[in-house]
């Protein structure tokens, strides 16, 4: 379980003064086991018993931390969809690449890619999971949009460019290839994708140089 996920506190517990303290390492172990189990068997195929066995804990230990299977999943999903930091290198292509890369990363890292289909499915019927997913997506999307806006203000691209549409096409291509075509997109392919997309909005001179 090397790629252990950094976990915030599962449940608010103000100051547990008396008795045996809770073993915080188990939180991470459970979340890791959840990601692995759901990735391997899907959400409906995964069982609490299986997650507990994978984490080496009892079922009660899981229920003490999260009220239900859904809550555990939601928490695990939030743990793997961690915010990404924006960058501003001055180069439009580099900025856009840096903004899109985290999305590609989410779709590429094995444990996350495995979780995503179940995450989408549950989000469709569970408002809490939907909210978790939306928050992450909106955050990464907003960073990419701002990178495009900065470029437009700098005059790197034509003024008619719709930043939202551009970003949706880029991120969408990644999602589409991953979920519907079953193909991974590595960093080089992401760069090629960004370059092609930039044609649609780059200034004429830049376009000629690229061709």
């Amino acid at each position: 379980m090397s790629g252990s996920v950094e976990t915030p506190l599962a449940v608010e517990r103000p100051t547990p003064r008396r008795g045996r303290p809770r073993d915080d390492r188990l939180d991470a172990a459970i979340v890791d086991a959840t990601v692995a189990e759901v990735g391997a068997k899907g959400w409906s195929g995964a069982t609490i018993e299986g997650i507990a066995a994978r984490a080496g804990v009892g079922r009660g230990t899981i229920y003490r931390r999260w009220p239900s299977k859904t809550d555990l999943f939601q928490y695990a999903a939030a743990a793997v969809t961690r915010p990404v930091q924006a960058s501003d290198s001055g180069s439009f292509v580099e900025d856009l690449f840096a903004a899109i890369l985290p999305i590609a990363d989410l779709l590429t890292r094995p444990e996350l890619a495995a979780l995503l289909p179940s995450l989408l499915a549950e989000a469709a019927n569970d408002p809490a999971i939907q909210q978790t997913l939306r928050a992450f997506v909106a955050q990464s999307r907003q960073q990419a949009i701002e990178a495009v806006e900065r470029a437009r203000r700098r005059g790197d691209i034509v003024q008619t460019t719709d930043a939202e549409t551009l970003v949706d096409m880029l991120a969408g291509a990644l999602v589409y290839r991953r979920l519907l075509l079953g193909e991974a997109t590595d960093a080089a392919a992401v760069r090629a994708l960004v370059r092609q997309a930039v044609q649609s909005c780059a200034m004429p001179t830049v376009t000629e140089e690229n061709s």
Copy 2:
């Protein structure tokens, strides 16, 4: 039950001369009920009992046709992801629009859009469902790619355009908005999307006229 789905034969039964024949209307009713139930409650939330009640049949009638809940879902998924016919209007934008529209349609029609998240989730763990999904996606994608290729041969767009990437961005934007942002994309928005994407590959003069 107006939007009834056209159903191929559920199970290969060459010509069962003896005994009471199966009621083919029940096949359609069960598939419709499955799509509705899974759309409403998700795959894990749906129950065979609920599907049977919705279709007005007994549980045994479902199990006689499909060995398990998973098989039923696979079949229902295949029934809703029916091939679409290509078009060749001569206008590049129109062709591309026509090629992309079925994908948008899949994401927009209520019963299918509701099914898609569960379909993706199950596809990740069930090779048969995955195959069903991939076949449909590859077919619609291929039609769109061919529309772009025709345009390139006619000289409507620059020769360096990568048809696959262009189509993936268009279809991807639709999927991304639907699944991750939770937004529907109507026909007008699809047209706007296509127009913006075309900027990346249109011949210079055309580009100026559009701007």
Copy 3:
């Protein structure tokens, strides 16, 4: 199917003028198959499908004759518990023996003995079956009682003898040995049983001769 049971008409059918007539041989085949199936697997273990297969008929052919599994069983039970004719040889012991023998026979004939436990069990919860059973038992019991009464009127036995109790003890011993001890009682044993029972009511001189 050698020991075929003589079957009265299963269902009253006044005068079926038109159409293919019912095959009466199937009635007997079905009843025989029922007795065999219930004897082999018990009432709850037997299935209509199994009975139909054993009789070489379709399930519908059974349901056309008897409305339910219970009705079929009741009919089969009535068919095997056929009335017995009384005898009056003049000798008390012989008369009593002749009156008891049918009861022993019922408990000894393989197909009937196998049916009896299920018959008793169903009789406890089904008034119709109970009535069938009671009628047969009462008939054979009455014949034995009358044999005893004749002997008393002739002065063969003491006047204080309670005929009912005597008969119940004789028949009861047979039932007890068969059902609770699992032992068969052959004709010789029945004769020994009758002889011992007669001691309780025979005239003193007879008793001394026997001892």
Copy 4:
């Protein structure tokens, strides 16, 4: 739950230290409910769901203790057919009466009498149930036989008396009346029955006194 049945351990569980212990009161509640349900509806009419509801437990709690409906019934049958202790009052008639009474009791106590027909039916097809039944019957029968043998050794009855036959007639009369005639036999009737039977073996002087 007044007439609660004293239950031995349902399944051999040496000393399960870990985990929540089984609630032994539920064993008794389930057995009681089984006896009641089977008595009311017969074996085939009774359902696990109904037994569980009557006992106020979930179905799983029943299946955790007994692998199948048949096993539960076998266990319940063993629980109600509990050994009886012998008596030796010195009076032959009293001893015999005391030895026969438990058999009459089994046939008279409502919950047991209701169970008996199903018990007999299942015993015919299930060796384990048959063994349970046979053991109980043989035990009570042996006690009665020994009471007769003691009387013969004391000289209370004629030496030619066959103890087994005498007992079989007494017990058989009770069973016959109950199962085949549907009549209950109360204590007074049992006493009358014993007295009449004793005529067959009592010493002449005693016989004259009784008449």
